[in-house]
């Protein structure tokens, strides 16, 4: 790969690396923690760091927010940051809150059904249910259940 590890290179890429670290923190919460609400919060952290990654790609050094003066007389010397990632992320934030709301509603239903929101407990209850069902099936087939 053709790159040199100069100071400019490191500072130019530090933002991507920091957002990757944040993303991985969110992923760790989702994978390692058993509490479902905590998983959703981890998912949100993951999501927000993806947003930051996208927005940082649209930034131009010395640029300003992509809003023109009211009289629409644009000074050609002014640099505007790229508005496309902003639009994309605006949509993504709203879709993200929709999925979060749906996930939290599912958690409420799970709490109602299993009376717990810990993954370990839910797995334990499910295993017990499956064993009981298997025993019934075995008996109905005449086996030594």
């Amino acid at each position: 790969m053709g790159f040199e590890l100069t100071q400019e290179y490191i500072f130019g890429h530090l933002n991507y690396w920091l957002f990757s670290v944040l993303m991985m923190t969110g992923l760790y919460i989702v994978v390692a923690k058993g509490n479902l609400v905590k998983k959703i919060v981890g998912l949100n952290i993951f999501q927000t760091s993806v947003f930051m990654l996208y927005i940082s790609m649209g930034k131009v050094t010395g640029g300003t927010a992509p809003i023109f003066p009211l009289d629409m007389q644009i000074d050609p010397d002014v640099i505007y940051s790229n508005p496309l990632p902003h639009v994309l992320i605006l949509t993504a934030i709203v879709v993200g809150i929709a999925t979060t709301a749906l996930g939290l509603a599912l958690i409420v239903r799970i709490q109602e059904e299993f009376n717990t929101i810990e993954e370990d407990d839910i797995l334990k209850i499910e295993r017990a249910i499956t064993q009981a069902e298997n025993a019934i099936h075995g008996e109905s087939m005449g086996g030594p259940a």
Binding site: F3, G12, H13, L14, W17, L18, S20, L22, M23, M24, T25, L27, Y28, V31, A32, G34, V37, K38, V41, G42, N44, I45, T48, F51, M52, I55, M57, G58, V60, T61, A65, P66, I67, P69, M72, Y80, P83, L84, H86, V87, I89, L90, T91, I93, V94, I97, A98, T100, A101, L102, L104, A105, V108, R109, Q111, E112, T116, E118, D120, D121
Partner: protein
């Protein structure tokens, strides 16, 4: 700051504190969006991320439990997965253009076209608005469809909660 908040979320057990910290995280990221010239995104993140999602999490906590149970699962495997994924992501960024460089592909392809076009085609000062509502209007229509579907889903999942709970109580009192 953001990393510290995220790590605090990993360590905390009190779910109430986690809800608050996720709000703090959203506000900090909104500040970051302002410094990255994305003021519209910062507005939305502050309102939706710090506001609505915190309220939703708190509502869920009110209906469920307040504390996380300690687990005896070993963190080795998740840590391994996370480190491998992170290394792959960082490897992927090595080819990316420098932060803020004006000749990056993202800045030279269609971005300037939108900036120029929205001056005489749409005539709205805020380019983000003109792209969102005009050039990418169908995306926004799809987005509202997604939000509508999610709203229906939430309503279907939650509806009749109090009714079911009352029925359960009656059944229990009949049994005892």
């Amino acid at each position: 700051m953001l990393v510290l908040t995220a790590i605090a979320v990993v360590r905390m057990r009190s779910l109430f504190a986690i809800a608050m910290l996720s709000g703090v995280f959203s506000l900090l990221s909104a500040l970051l969006f302002v410094t990255l010239d994305a003021v519209d995104v910062a507005f939305t993140e502050a309102a939706v991320g710090a506001g609505i999602s915190t309220v939703l999490v708190l509502g869920t906590l009110a209906l469920t439990s307040r504390y996380e149970k300690p687990t005896n699962r070993s963190p080795a495997l998740p840590l391994f997965v996370v480190i491998v994924t992170g290394a792959a992501l960082i490897y992927g960024t090595l080819d990316m253009p420098n932060f803020g460089s004006p000749d990056a592909p993202a800045q030279t392809h269609v971005g300037p076209d939108y900036l120029e076009g929205s001056v005489h085609e749409i005539d709205i000062p805020n380019v983000v608005t003109s792209i969102l509502a005009s050039y990418r209007g169908y995306d926004t229509l799809g987005e509202t469809a997604v939000v509508f579907t999610a709203g229906i889903g939430v309503l279907l999942l939650i509806s009749g909660l109090s009714g079911r709970r009352r029925r359960d109580d009656e059944e229990e009192s009949e049994e005892t």
